[in-house]
Assembly symmetry: C2
Homo-oligomer: 124 residues x 2
DNA sequence: CTCGTGTTCAACCATGCGGTTGAGTACAGC
DNA sequence: GCTGTACTCAACCGCATGGTTGAACACGAG
């Protein structure tokens, strides 16, 4: 029913498979046909074809036509989607961590009111 | 029992679920207990508990103890793992794309026997 | 000790996914 | 027009996963 998984989910999901990640890694070095991609793995061509379909559905690659061959090309722009998501929350988490760090610093001084004078907010 | 999936696979896999991504997003704003995390979703507490387990197995979070509560804390360092992987291949792909671009510049005027339609919108 | 709260464990079910094999499609070469 | 090559489609299988419910565990408060 819920076939309409959002893009990010499809991208992460596609990259969750080691074989598919390896394919992407190799495609980063240049386009490759299905059989070329399949060569290193001990699986059927059909399985590889399916993997490519998954990558394509995630928008990570697209296939063109060259006679019987179907050269696969990496579309690296989708990476931005992930990177943005990751960076957003990492930054948030890190900022929070630093605030907490500073807060702990301040609380440390607050136990003895005298030490409040120590301005250690610049630390870090 | 191939439970020994590599780290990267577990991270990508964990983040492939929208609910789990949302949890991570909320955890970036600060720690939360299981019930707090579960509140917005229309699923059982047990389901949420399982999600947290998945995130934990991926090294994205860890749980501490506070009486009966199990505050969940985001471990954002794992993001680096992904970012590094992504950046590595994106850079490679982009470099290649630029080389190809330069090559095409040089070959300009020389048409091959098989004209390919460039449906690309070029660089964003 | 008992009770309530917060969470996990266990069993179960439906769906999805990675793999297979077998058949079908598309194209180049003889 | 056959034959071989490159690939996809379709059906099937086993297992992992996300969900459920019900029981169990851990702990603080009476």
């Amino acid at each position: 029913m819920v076939e309409h998984e959002d893009r990010l989910s499809r991208v992460f999901s596609a990259l969750a498979d080691p074989t598919r990640r390896d394919m992407v890694a190799r495609l980063a070095a240049g386009d490759a046909t299905v059989s070329e991609l399949a060569a290193p793995y001990d699986v059927s061509l059909q399985a590889v074809s399916k993997h490519i379909q998954v990558l394509q559905d995630a928008g990570l690659v697209h296939r063109s036509k060259d006679a019987q061959r179907r050269p696969v090309h990496l579309d690296a722009e989708v990476f931005d989607l992930m990177t943005k998501w990751i960076e957003r929350y990492r930054a948030q988490a890190e900022a929070r961590y630093q605030r907490l760090d500073a807060l702990l610093d301040r609380l440390q001084g607050k136990t003895t009111e005298d030490e409040q004078e120590q301005t250690k907010g610049a630390a870090g």
